[in-house]
């Protein structure tokens, strides 16, 4: 099946099996190594990417669903100013994720930050903690994750009118 989609700002046309999971598509066909492909849909949460700005588990997205979509992986995201907001939050809270989950956690935080940026609603700690449980890694406790997310939202609000990745 022929699919056309954008990954980290680059437009690709690939001929792949229509049921191939997105994480395998990124690692095998595009050689993007920041996305994990270890769990095969068991929801370890380490394969998070942004699809049209929203976090998704790439192991649960088949190739035929990414046609015409915009995918952001950590490789591309880590070069943007949006990532600086999150990186600054890590450093000001003195709470860093491990190398194994850094990519997924940062993209998940970015998705949460964008959600609050768009809706401007009240911060729902319960919902954010439930999101934290998505990533199966013990390097950051839930309280620390909550603080990093709050700080990232504050950093983003301070730096408004900035072009998105």
């Amino acid at each position: 099946m022929r699919i056309e989609f954008t990954v980290d700002g680059k437009y690709y046309t690939l001929s792949v099996s229509s049921d191939k999971p997105l994480n395998l598509l990124l690692s095998d066909d595009l050689e993007i190594k920041s996305t994990s492909f270890a769990c095969s849909g068991r929801m370890c949460g380490l394969c998070v990417v942004l699809m049209d700005g929203k976090a998704v588990l790439s192991c649960l997205v088949p190739a035929f669903e990414v046609r015409g979509k915009t995918i952001t992986t950590f490789d591309g995201f880590s070069k943007t100013r949006d990532y600086r907001d999150i990186e600054k939050a890590y450093s000001s809270m003195q709470n860093y994720p491990c190398d194994r989950c850094r990519a997924a956690r940062s993209l998940l935080i970015e998705s949460i930050v964008r959600r609050y940026e768009v809706t401007g609603g009240d911060f729902d700690s319960g919902e954010v903690l439930a999101e934290a449980a998505l990533i199966d890694c013990d390097c950051m406790d839930s309280d620390g994750f909550l603080k990093v997310v709050r700080e990232s939202i504050l950093n983003r609000r301070k730096r408004k009118n900035v072009r998105r990745a």
Partner: protein
């Protein structure tokens, strides 16, 4: 070349009429219906697929399946409405137990991809959403092929057999779910463990009840053991309905033993952890019920003393 040969064909009908045509054309082939895909993609053997020449009918673009409507008596959702949208749209009207069940189903990132139709038709494990909808007397519309296309409403409990396996005509489409808008005096939902990561040990329990003074006048209880099925029976309901509140310790022991024996009779060899979770959830429920009744009677007594 190899990839092209094994790649399943994707069909994306844009309305029910186009879906009917697709089914008519491919009814004799190996096809499956694709809703959100969260359960299908989490199967260990999904990719690379052992079977070749599969036909995947994606339901995502069928407009009718994304609609929802509400009136005074019920809310009706198309099968492709995500459970996150249901929680947001029905926040003020749907029974609280249903919202609790949805909120306990994964995190928002995953919930946005889980559709209500898909979660009722999972093959590998049973979801707590299906069991909660069952005790809420939800009804579903099925479209199935029998010489021509039929559509018919069924009680949700009728599309599962006694062990919780899906028993609908092959290739049938669950197109709508109707949920009655009613509240109960008491609603309790508890889930333990993940049905995806550890279906063997996970458990969920849901109960709705109505009280009359200090006794339970109506109750429906259901246990979900994701890898085995549902445990839902009139005998269990009657056992809870006969309770006088607060439940004494001796009576509690009797009821708990009855419930456990009943579940063990239905599902042989329950793991120890799952058994402990059943006991824990049931204990929490009885304790919560007792607290609610005691605080209620305490408040009434205080009112009477004040007068």
């Amino acid at each position: 070349m190899y990839v092209e040969l094994r790649s399943p064909n994707i069909h994306e009908p844009e309305n029910i009429a186009a879906y009917n045509n697709t089914i008519l054309n491919y009814r004799d082939t190996d096809f499956f219906l694709w809703a959100g895909g969260t359960e299908i993609m989490s199967r260990a053997d999904f990719y690379p697929a052992v079977r070749g020449n599969m036909e995947i009918i994606s339901l995502d673009k069928i407009e009718e399946l994304h609609h929802f409507l509400r009136n005074d008596r019920y809310a009706e959702f198309g099968a492709m409405v995500s459970i996150n949208e249901i929680a947001q749209a029905g926040k003020l009207v749907l029974p609280r137990i249903l919202l609790d069940t949805i909120n306990s189903t994964a995190c928002r990132t995953v919930r946005e991809r889980i559709t209500i139709g898909g979660s009722l038709c999972t093959q590998r494990f049973k979801t707590s959403l299906a069991s909660t909808l069952m005790i809420l007397d939800a009804a579903v519309e099925l479209r199935y092929m029998k010489k021509r296309m039929h559509s018919k409403w069924f009680q949700l409990s009728r599309i599962y057999d006694k062990n919780g396996a899906l028993s609908i005509p092959e290739g049938a489409l669950l197109s709508k779910v109707r949920i009655a808008i009613q509240q109960y005096d008491y609603q309790f939902f508890r889930t333990m463990g993940s049905p995806v990561r550890d279906p063997e040990n996970a458990l969920s329990m849901a109960l709705v009840a109505r009280f009359e003074q200090n006794s339970v006048s109506y109750a429906r209880i259901i246990f979900t053991l994701p890898s085995r099925g549902f445990c839902y029976n009139r005998d269990l309901d009657n056992m809870i309905t006969s309770l006088h509140l607060p439940v004494s310790i001796s009576r509690y022991g009797q009821v708990e033993d009855f419930v456990l024996d009943f579940i063990k009779d239905n599902f042989k060899d329950i793991p120890h952890l799952q058994e402990s979770r059943i006991r824990g959830a049931f204990h929490d429920m009885i304790k919560d019920m007792n607290e609610k009744v005691l605080s209620y009677t305490g408040a009434i007594e205080r009112q009477q003393q004040d007068r």
